[in-house]
């Protein structure tokens, strides 16, 4: 077997075995369907959700589209705010020392504990959801940016200074690209946070989105729908993270070798 085939086949075989055992256990009555609906039941629900939809005929695709749009909106806003702010904080040790307790503090507040406040501040509409996702992503991205900037090789900045580079240009043309590889991985981690926050953010004030699908299913004791929704979130999270890694390799062609690994 080629190593390439192995990387795919082995996890696939493990997954198939896992599903097989699960199905068998459910079939034998060892697992209660309400707690652990068997994979065959999940497949049926998936088709049902994809074609007829739930609740009120909202299909899985509509839910997923709305959820992804919310996550991306919150994530992109957070990243766009965090990068310039993080570059500034990371570049000035005094500013970094002054703000680091605040950053650690805000980062530690569980995002969903802000849900009641978000509802008061932004109402039950889209804004509160995007705020919650953005909040979760922002602090992660901000710490990642500050860290990335502090790790920029100071000799690059010195080199730029000997070439008459104005400070604003040093931020844009030296620190930003030098920090780019770590910014990209920070953005990936932040996106993961977005996916973790989404179910909570969609709990109130909407029946659209994978998060609300999951909550709505709970009311009807539809464990199968909850699981399909969970699996969808996981699958989209995986897909987007993979796409970001590809984008990263394309945007930062020098990175692979800089870290000392062949491409």
């Amino acid at each position: 077997m080629s190593p390439r085939a192995q990387t795919w086949l082995v996890p696939a075989a493990v997954l198939a075995a896992f599903l097989g055992i699960w199905e068998f256990a459910a079939d034998q009555g060892w697992l209660r369907p309400i707690q652990f609906p068997p994979p065959s039941r999940l497949a049926d629900s998936f088709i049902d959700l994809a074609t007829r939809g739930f609740p009120q005929g909202i299909t899985l695709w509509t839910h997923a589209g709305i959820t992804i749009a919310r996550i991306l909106a919150g994530h992109i806003l957070a990243v766009m705010l965090a990068i310039p702010l993080g570059i500034l904080i990371g570049s000035y040790p005094l500013l970094d020392r002054a703000t680091s307790p605040l950053v650690a503090f805000c980062r530690s507040i569980a995002t969903l504990s802000l849900l009641p406040l978000a509802l008061v501040w932004f109402g039950t509409g889209e804004a509160s959801k995007i705020f919650l996702i953005g909040y979760g992503c922002f602090w992660v991205m901000l710490s990642a940016t500050i860290g990335a900037v502090k790790l920029v090789d100071p000799v690059l900045i010195r080199a730029a200074r000997t070439m008459d580079t104005p400070q604003a240009e040093i931020f844009r043309r030296v620190i930003l690209p030098a920090a780019a590889p770590r910014l990209m991985s920070g953005a990936r981690v932040a996106l993961g946070v977005g996916f973790m926050v989404i179910v909570g953010a969609e709990m109130i004030g909407t029946i659209r989105g994978l998060g609300s699908l999951i909550m709505e299913a709970r009311t009807f004791y539809r464990t199968d729908i909850t699981m399909v929704g969970m699996l969808c979130i996981g699958a989209f999270g995986l897909a987007i993270t993979t796409a970001m890694a590809k984008l990263e390799a394309w945007l930062i062609p020098w990175q692979a070798r800089v870290e000392g690994q062949p491409k």
Binding site: M163, D164, R257, V258
Partner: protein, 247 residues
């Protein structure tokens, strides 16, 4: 013209004798001066002070009669590890400096290509630093430092990380470039042969406080041969200063 008088440097977070004592030094236009000394004797610190990357703790530092207040302004620098921007091609690394001077991109690219040709790397214009050998990277770094057409070229152990054969080639290369574009060069090294091959004047440094303990002019024409008896004699003299009890 670089004039240094009673220049000293003490780092805030550093206890003990000053990194640089009160040193005096005057460097003529187009002179090739080499600072030699073992690790930690303050060579980089002195070079950074001249570059304007560090501020003096005391004394005076003037270039062409004007007090040095910051980097840039006619002082190009080549760092030990090249310090090329890894995200830019060789050409773009060199054009970076020219663009800062307000040059249009086309003109900056043309200048970059001209300088790459000067250092013998015309074919590598579109390669990224990671695609270049250490010696090639240093050539790009030299070309980049020349892009602003500085009057003064500061070089901090630029060939220190290269193997000996490449290092010798680079020394020839540097002398060739220097012959074409006369500059005042302040070159730091810890290799005795390197300074004998390159320098108009050698200054041997000793640590804590960083100071000059030996100064020698070398008036031999270039290229020089290592077997030259004058150089051999100088080698021994410098060696004993670096190594013996006279420091």
């Amino acid at each position: 013209m670089i004039e240094i008088s009673k220049l000293s440097k003490v780092f805030a977070n550093d206890s003990g004798a000053p990194v640089l004592g009160e040193v005096d030094l005057s460097i003529a236009p187009n002179e090739f001066v080499v600072l030699l000394g073992r690790s930690g004797c303050g060579k980089t610190t002195l070079l950074n002070l001249i570059a304007g990357l560090e501020t003096p703790s005391g004394g005076e530092l003037r270039v062409n009669g004007k007090k040095v207040t910051g980097p840039g302004a006619g002082k190009g620098m080549v760092f030990q590890q090249g310090a090329l921007f890894p995200w830019l091609t060789a050409k773009a690394n060199i054009a970076f400096a020219a663009i800062n001077r307000g040059m249009k991109k086309d003109a900056a690219d043309a200048l970059a290509l001209e300088l790459l040709a000067l250092v013998g790397l015309a074919a590598a214009a579109d390669k990224y630093p990671f695609e270049l050998s250490g010696g090639m990277q240093q050539r790009v770094a030299i070309a980049r430092a020349l892009a602003l057409d500085p009057e003064i070229l500061l070089m901090d152990e630029p060939f220190g990380a290269l193997d000996e054969i490449t290092r010798n080639e680079m020394q020839d290369e540097l002398l060739r470039v220097w012959a074409q574009r006369r500059k005042t060069v302040v070159f730091v090294t810890h290799s005795i042969w390197e300074d004998l091959i390159l320098a108009d004047r050698v200054l041997v440094m000793a640590p804590r406080p960083g100071r000059f303990v030996l100064e020698r002019r070398i008036d031999l024409p270039r290229p020089r041969r290592r077997s030259d008896p004058t150089l051999v004699a100088l080698y021994d003299e410098i060696w004993s200063h670096l190594h013996g009890g006279q420091v």
